[in-house]
């Protein structure tokens, strides 16, 4: 472990450390002889590199990125990002070279010593550019990275009502308050990596593949992780560089992202356009839906970019029983940073498309939007033509309308927005867990890693339920590939489901072992002996759940929106800890408001990123937000511990409800997020 002197207590998740200022984040690590890495990045959206002098570059390390983590795709291959730009740069912020020095001031100084000559080329900046202009990658005939479809094409029905529109969510930077960062140390043939991450196993797999080294020679350990929201789920070029550099120099290497690097070079989410056509009867019953989804995937295939089109398309009928549906979906190359997952990752986009269309249809028919939605729901489970499996929707949403006091609210004010959705958590392929019982204490590791969700709280609770071990004897340690053979990651509203199920499963295994040894189980027997059990608990079936949001707003002078009420009604399954559930939902609702009113990444025609600070990027302040009203419904899932997903529910439900509320007050048809004051003032 090469000289990092963190003891057991320091390696455990412990939120009480944070209020004392004694957390263990990656930038807190100091190792003897450690050097700091800085990265020179492309100032152009698209250019040919004519010459490059100085620093470590593709001449030293010609590796390419591996597709790992959330939405990883084995097909991603042809246009996968090089670790260092090779011959060309394809987005502002693309790594070109790296330099190393004793401290971060000196490594920043060294950036100025690198000489690069570029020949700027015409960039492909927008979705429209990508369709119109030639391919950004030579050897391709166009900018289409992936094209797929969901459902079966059908002849347009002769419906009296046909409405069609184009809707869009701008790109958003995840902006966890802790930027990304890594420390690598190579000693005695072993590469030790400490990293701020949602998934140590993704990072490990990525390094193994990109560097072509053996899995046995890499150990990836998670540090306290200051938020991720999707952006810290996979591999990034800097991780490969820092690992390679520590192997080459024989010294520990640290790289800490700056906020500007985060905005320019960390995979942002959203950036999706949907063209939707709905066929309906005059009574509001929808006969069919056709759509086109286009993803602004950025310059390289990061993996999720090729997964997203089908994933968005699949969800586009929402919780409604629409019998005919067909959606064509594609991801396009543009000269921007590769797109990645951001809290929701395809779910909010699909919901924005269908929910906006429901509101438009309600307006067209002069129907109440809630009535229209309920009319298009079933009392029975339903499988959409695109394969989305849902439970009986209508009873749940009738409850939502009641509990959110929608009827009363819509009588009282004009500006009410309501949204219904089905949350599709990333259950596949399950998760791993390991429990060691030793010296009367229970130590636990999970394959997927907490980065603020408080996994330790449900882990302690479930172990107490399964094995009756007092919670104070249970410790959950941060992610460590040295302690779990395999594992997945924390994203996609999955942890309470899959990590919870893995904990229950490994507890059952341990219980059997105790019974074998002692004849029957008791907590005393358990703690008196020693056990070490690991399980890779596969879960592959969908576990979808319903949610609804209500928002009311006021438009203050000059198009500034004030959110008056922002309420949620979510089925979270069994709430393993109510406070944690509510905390997750409140935080997600803030991000939903952020997406709707403030957040975006703005590029000019040259593909330069205009957004230059976390404030420009629109991360909301305390002053921008209301108090939230959170109603949770606990319909247990079929899993033994009863959990369902919830982390992304608010980023799915809030933007749609809020956009509708603003639309109702302003009388202006709204088709994209963020909704700007300028748009409302027109």
């Amino acid at each position: 472990m090469s000289e990092l002197k963190w003891g057991d207590r320091e390696l455990a998740y412990d939120s009480s450390a944070f209020v004392r200022g004694s957390g263990h984040y990656v930038d807190d690590i100091k190792l003897p002889g450690m050097i700091h890495m800085s990265v020179l990045r492309s100032p152009y959206a698209r250019a040919r590199i004519l010459s490059l002098k100085g620093g470590m570059s593709s001449k030293d390390l010609g590796a390419r990125m591996a597709s790992v983590g959330e939405g990883a795709s084995p097909e991603a291959g042809l246009s996968i990002e090089p670790v260092f730009a090779t011959g060309f740069v394809n987005y502002v912020g693309e790594p070109v070279a790296a330099v190393f020095a004793d401290d971060r001031y000196k490594s920043t100084d060294l950036l100025e010593s690198i000489e690069v000559d570029y020949e700027p080329l015409e960039p492909v900046v927008t979705i429209d550019d990508a369709l119109k202009l030639g391919p950004i990658h030579s050897g391709r005939k166009d900018n289409i990275m992936v094209e797929t479809s969901k459902g079966t094409d059908f002849q347009d029905p002769e419906s009296p009502i046909v409405i069609e529109d184009t809707l869009e969510n701008d790109r958003i930077s995840a902006n966890p308050i802790e930027p990304r960062g890594i420390v690598t140390s190579y000693t005695d043939g072993m590469l030790n990596v400490w990293i701020s991450t949602q998934a140590v196993h993704s990072v490990k797999e990525g390094l193994v593949e990109s560097l072509g080294i053996s899995p046995e020679s890499v150990r990836v350990m998670q540090t306290d992780t200051g938020g991720g929201f999707g952006s810290k789920g996979g591999l990034y070029p800097e991780y490969v560089m820092a690992s390679y550099a520590s192997m080459k120099f024989g010294k520990p290497v640290k790289w800490i992202e700056t906020r500007r690097e985060h905005l320019a070079s960390t995979n942002p989410g959203r950036g999706v356009r949907g063209k939707v056509k709905i066929f309906a009867e005059r009574n509001g019953r929808i006969n069919g839906l056709k759509g086109e989804v286009t993803i602004d995937a950025g310059a390289y295939d990061s993996g999720i970019a090729s997964f997203s089109p089908g994933f968005v398309a699949m969800q586009m009928t929402g919780p409604y029983s629409i019998e005919k549906a067909f959606v064509v979906a594609r991801a396009l190359f543009t000269n921007k940073v590769p797109q990645g997952p951001y809290r929701g990752a395809g779910r909010p986009e699909a919901s924005f498309f269908i929910e906006r269309m429901m509101d438009m249809l309600a307006d067209e028919l002069a129907m109440d939007p809630a009535d229209l939605r309920l009319l298009n729901m079933s009392d029975k489970p339903f499988v959409s033509p695109m394969g989305l499996k849902i439970d009986a929707a209508r009873p749940f949403f009738e409850g939502a309308v009641r509990e959110l006091e929608y009827r009363r609210e819509s009588k009282m004010s004009r500006g009410v927005g309501l949204s219904f959705f089905v949350l599709v958590p990333a259950v596949y392929p399950g998760e791993s867990a390991r429990i060691i019982v030793k010296d009367g204490k229970v130590s636990v590791w999970l394959g997927g890693n907490s980065h603020g969700q408080g996994h330790e709280i449900f882990v302690k609770k479930l172990i107490n339920e399964e094995l009756q071990v007092p919670e104070e004897l249970v410790t959950l340690y941060r992610g460590d590939t040295g302690m779990t053979k395999t594992g997945v990651g924390t994203w996609g509203s999955r942890s309470a489901i899959v990590a919870g199920a893995a904990i229950v499963a490994v507890c059952k295994k341990i219980k059997q072992e105790v019974e074998k040894e002692f004849g029957s189980y008791s907590v005393r027997s358990l703690l008196s002996s020693g056990y070490d059990e690991f399980i890779n608990n596969e879960l592959k079936m969908p576990l979808n759940s319903f949610g609804a949001n209500l928002a009311t707003v006021e438009i203050e002078k000059m198009g500034r929106v004030r959110v008056k009420k922002c309420a949620a009604y979510y089925d979270v399954g069994r709430a393993l800890n109510r406070d944690m559930v509510i905390g997750q939902i409140q935080g997600g609702m803030a991000q939903g408001i952020g997406q709707t009113l403030h957040e975006g990444l703005f590029y000019n025609k040259e593909g330069q990123l205009i957004t230059s600070s976390i404030s420009d990027a629109g991360v909301p302040l305390a002053e921008d937000l209301p108090n939230f009203i959170v109603n949770i419904v606990e319909n247990r899932s079929f899993l033994p511990h009863g959990a369902k997903g919830l982390g992304e529910a608010p980023t799915v439900g809030v933007p749609t409800a809020l956009t509708r509320a603003i639309e109702s007050v302003s009388g202006k048809r709204l088709r994209r997020t963020p909704v700007t004051p300028e748009e409302l003032m027109k």
Binding site: G21, S613, I614, L621
Partner: protein
């Protein structure tokens, strides 16, 4: 490379050091004094993860040179608890879940500390306004506001107790 000598008091302890003029206070605290509870979250003086007190005033230590701390008293998150006992703000943030990932927490607590010194019983609006230099991406701020309110209550109760004891 020239260095300059600074003398400061950090969390009650006298500190003398040679620093490069360009060294930011936050890096001095973190790298030289190993006070890693003060964090860096942005480059542009927006996020407030680096908040410390200089002579009792909450400031962003990423936008202060270490050299400017010469002759001043600095308080970081590590200096808030007394003899191992958590400050009421620290207790309140834990109890009311005013944190998730923990990265903004030191800054939130120190800004709130400064606020509660000026205003013993701030309204929700005053709390939100005074936290406008501190970003949190996890909580949606509601639990942070509740934590600050609860801390104010704990501190006021403590003061009443103290007054009673004096009498």
């Amino acid at each position: 490379m020239s260095t300059i000598k600074i003398r400061t008091k950090v969390n009650g302890k006298d500190v003398e050091a040679e620093v490069e003029p360009r060294t930011l206070l936050v890096h001095f605290l973190r790298e030289e004094l190993n006070l890693t509870g003060t964090h860096v979250g942005c480059d542009t003086s927006n996020c407030g993860a680096c908040t410390v007190l200089i002579d009792g005033q909450a400031v962003k230590s990423c936008t202060v040179l270490a050299a400017q701390a010469n002759g001043k008293e600095i308080t970081t998150i590590e200096g808030l608890s007394r003899n191992g006992e958590l400050h009421p703000l620290q207790k309140a943030f834990l109890e009311k879940h005013g944190l998730q990932c923990g990265y903004c927490t030191s800054g939130m607590i120190l800004t709130s500390f400064w606020l509660l010194k000026k205003n013993k019983d701030p309204s929700e609006e005053e709390i939100r306004k005074n936290l406008s230099g501190n970003l949190c991406r996890c909580t949606g701020y509601q639990s942070i506001v509740e934590s600050v309110k609860y801390a104010a209550q704990l501190m006021n109760e403590k003061e009443v107790e103290r007054e009673m004891a004096v009498r």
